[in-house]
Symmetry: C2
Subunit: 210 residues, 2 copies
């Protein structure tokens, strides 16, 4: 599929075929494509929990407005946004820095500059920590939904869940925000999709305030 | 280009050809594809300012770590995330509701339910307002960067700017968060791209806490 076909055909699907699972290979391909999303200083403050066991799915469904797609889809991803993913000493921050040194895009002498830049942009207020984590995790999640569609696999991004209870049930540390859940699977044959929803036009999208 | 080619070849470009502008038609196509991004209840709390005038570009560059790409790229988008984009009475919230009634996906009788759902999920705390706005605007921005690449147009997402001063200079109302700037244009021939940066593997992406 061309990019435009993927973008135009991706829809939030309510009807998943409970009999058709997503193969490990496809999930791996989807994650690999999603991981190509850009992030702030390549910090990639995102990760996912794969909820595919019967009991876990039932637990999650109860905490997510009892949405049937959570138990019907073969798997649901809990997308995690790491509000500490900019901090000095964080394993992936250090790995990222070492990888940049290896590739020649940064030098050890820039450690203090890099630390200061991250602290100023992402760590200076609670709002900035949250925005940093959520923005980057959303880049990842958006790419993931398109990547799935490019393989013929459907998704449904969900906001309707009790974040605090989901964090408690799945022992998710406090530092993570959960920006969304994504049901992943195949469209159930015989069901009918509603027409695509209205979207803002370019004229509605472009603004000025003077 | 296939989706995978777009995802794999999209890079944050530092070298834009200052002589090559982005046509109005291409910008329109990019915005139309980006607008297909999903959003919370289809609320689409995103918009953009197109910064393409000499004076505006110089103003923005000064407030964005003096990054040369802002004056070199034919245009830079200021991406806006509307923290009020869930509120009853907001013009686009009302338009969205009316469009859902028209298409039969919601009924007038659901107005109060819909209002309560939005207030609970997006309006109940300052954190939720911010996360709602930033997440959705990031879905839009991510789709926009991929859409541009699918037309052979390069982008560079930027965090290095003084948000408060940018808001002041461009008279952006307080309700907006500015999650990023995106330089848009064509790659300058003769320049060399660094190799693509390290990314987390599927094994690094998938987590559990029990």
């Amino acid at each position: 599929m061309t990019f435009k076909e993927v973008v135009n055909s991706r829809r939030a699907i309510n009807f998943f075929d409970p009999e058709k699972s997503v193969s490990k290979e496809d999930l791996k391909s989807i994650l690999e494509m999603a991981a190509k999303a850009p992030s702030s200083f390549n910090l990639q403050p995102w990760s996912v929990m794969v909820i595919d066991g019967k009991e876990d799915k039932e637990t999650l469904r109860k905490l997510a407005w009892n949405q049937p797609k959570i138990t019907e889809a073969p798997l649901t991803l809990i997308v995690l946004a790491d509000q500490d993913g900019w901090k000095e000493g964080h394993p992936f921050v250090e790995k990222n820095f070492q990888e940049m040194i290896k590739s020649g895009t940064m030098q050890e002498a820039q450690r203090e500059w890099f630390k200061g830049a991250r602290e100023g942009l992402y760590g200076s207020t609670p709002e900035r920590k949250l925005a940093f984590a959520v923005k980057n995790a959303a880049f990842f999640a958006m790419t993931l939904m398109l990547a799935a569609k490019s393989l013929g696999i459907e998704t449904h991004p969900m906001d309707g869940f009790d974040m605090d209870k989901v964090k408690q049930a799945f022992k998710i540390p406090d530092t993570y925000w959960v920006p969304l859940l994504i049901a992943v699977g195949y469209f159930k044959k015989g069901e009918t999709l509603m027409p695509a929803k209205w979207r803002k036009s370019p004229e509605e999208l472009i603004v000025r305030f003077d």
